[in-house]
Subunit: 339 residues, 2 copies
DNA sequence: AACGCTAATCTAAACGTTTCGATAGTGTCA
DNA sequence: TGACACTATCGAAACGTTTAGATTAGCGTT
């Protein structure tokens, strides 16, 4: 900018005024300055600007796994929304690991992001401090956080799973296996509650051996399913509370020589784009990813626009049960096949 | 830092020296400073540091679509690699749009990223200028760029498709539909070449009506497939050169009342995690996403480490044909079913 | 002709670091 | 006792912006 000012024989203040439109500058000088800018190929240094202004027009976004199609979709929507608003987004994947998450968030705050959207992991002790200490607005995505009272957009997980399990019960299923992620994050807890309530509402017992938990990965779903399928009185249906894990479930069913839905019905959380193309077409609980991403972005953009003092807003969206052909109605007798 | 210096009764220079370990500071002062840092909860301002140092320890990454599983996987790997190296990554999705890409890259350069990994879109006129003007290292990902001579990691697309088509020919297929993306990017061009060469090598003609092109989206794959299937002498196999488009292909096959692989064989580019779980299990060309991401990251990290003058390095990796059950061997007579 | 008002422009300080060169303190050795 | 080397510390400039406040010029009023 100094060079531009010199070339145009004006002060840097005038150049700045013209670029930002913060003061009127005469047509004559404007022209000289614009010419100089073109000649020199000047580009404003956003870092220097950020330092002075105290804002980076950059936000941080952390998710557990970008390869989880749910997060992929949400990240995509959020990225688009901030792009439209002229913000850059720094993406971090925490790999479902608390320490990684701490590091990532520190990394983002170090870089003076203007705001944070966090699909948290673990118990959020650090998050509490961040929301308290750092003066950047935070919006929680997908997962709430005890003790952190801030903007959030989540799903009505309990209701969504309640509906899905009720659907299975209505089909005649009585023993329904349930595969959950580690229960220290709110959605897993709420989904589990939905499962239990649906069973109770139908007068069915919650059998401990039918509930298995894993760490969100395909292999965990595989192992959990193997355990469920080797029970002497095995479930006629399995619900997986997490998307990547259901892949493991399907592989386990295949490896053990059973097939879905003939031998065992399967449903899961989170829809994916190809779910109605391949067989079996999985019955899923679809989250409104578009809305989730947009609402999260809007909440943050609103704070960034200056609305700092409004009380925390918590948006709860509804899931939708996508009924396909991976769950079959059950007659009086549970079919018993061996491979 | 000023506050820390005052609290510890030292100069800011000393604080900086201690934090960065750039000079020895006495145990006594060290302790005072560390105490002050803790008391105040001081965090170094990375923006100010960037301004002074001329480096942001942040890189920019642009991909056409993060929802394309290939890019999802590569982004994930790259993100991890840079995370390990202490870099942040700014992610942008260009939506296969040239203007968007220009905007995004400008946005990234404005923010003084230290380097750029670009899966480009379009003809790259802007990219040329960037690589010339900006002094940040750029590595091209997945897609080369005429006239931009810089580090790159790509697949041997031609060979990969050659192998896939040859496989179909070996199965007895003679009329093989081919669905490509817009041909102005190198992989699409190379894949097309692989298709033609495989046919020629087998003494088969390249029939114009069997080649359809679209804009990478599911709907384009759908439309292209519909056209192929309504030919009076329709193909017995379809190869889709792009992953999202194959979803459209499968939907079109279903909607028209055919089934795969009984009525029509399907293969495509890019593997996905669930491809061996659902039916039909698609035969795909798998890209080594892990290697691609890591190599791209390494190339850039190497430049960032100071190795600026080395000549451009172009890494070409091999694809792998994952044979599953979506392509069936063909007898002498092409089966002709109507739904 | 002196005055005030407005519009255009400029000067200079500030943002929070890093770093160069200066300075003070300490011990060694002739 | 100086001269000297060495270490620890500091002062101040610099990075490239923004912006408050000062200055200047032009112009209409009285």
């Amino acid at each position: 900018m100094l060079h531009v000012a010199e070339a145009a024989r004006v002060s840097v203040a005038t150049v700045s005024a013209l670029i930002n439109g913060t003061a009127t500058v005469s047509p004559e000088l404007s022209q000289r300055i614009e010419q100089a800018i073109r000649d020199i190929g000047y580009k404003r240094n956003a870092i220097a600007r950020s330092l002075k202004m105290g804002t980076t027009r950059t936000i941080g976004l952390t998710v557990p796994h970008i390869t989880n199609p749910f997060f992929t979709a949400v990240v995509s929507v959020i990225q688009q929304a901030f792009d439209r608003a002229g913000y850059a987004v720094m993406l971090c994947c925490t790999d479902e690991d608390l320490n990684t998450q701490d590091d990532q968030i520190r990394l983002l705050l170090d870089r003076m992001v203007d705001g944070l959207i966090v699909a948290r992991v673990g118990d959020g002790a650090i998050l509490e401090r961040i929301v308290a200490d750092a003066n950047v607005p935070v919006v929680l995505l997908d997962r709430l956080c005890e003790g952190v009272d801030t903007d959030a957009v989540v799903l009505d997980n309990q209701r969504a799973v309640f509906d899905a399990i009720t659907y299975l019960i209505d089909l005649g299923h009585r023993r329904i296996g349930y595969i959950t992620g580690t229960s220290d994050i709110s959605p897993m807890h709420d989904r589990m509650t939905g499962y239990c309530e649906a069973l109770q509402a139908a007068g069915l017992p919650v059998a401990e051996e039918l509930v298995r938990s894993g760490n969100f990965h395909e292999i965990d779903g595989y192992n959990a399913t193997m355990q469920l399928l080797s029970l002497h009185d095995r479930p006629s249906a399995i619900f997986s509370a997490n998307n990547p894990m259901v892949i493991g479930t399907m592989k386990a069913i295949r490896d053990i020589g059973l097939s879905c839905p003939e031998d065992i019905s399967v449903a899961c959380f989170d829809d994916f784009p190809w779910s109605d193309v391949f067989q079996p077409q999985l019955t899923t609980v679809a989250q409104p990813v578009q809305a989730i991403g947009e609402q999260a972005a809007n909440l943050l953009l609103d704070r960034l626009a200056g609305n700092r003092d409004a009380p925390p807003r918590k948006l709860v969206l509804k899931g939708r049960l996508m009924i396909r052909n991976s769950c079959r109605p059950l007659g009086a007798v549970v079919q018993s096949l061996s491979a």
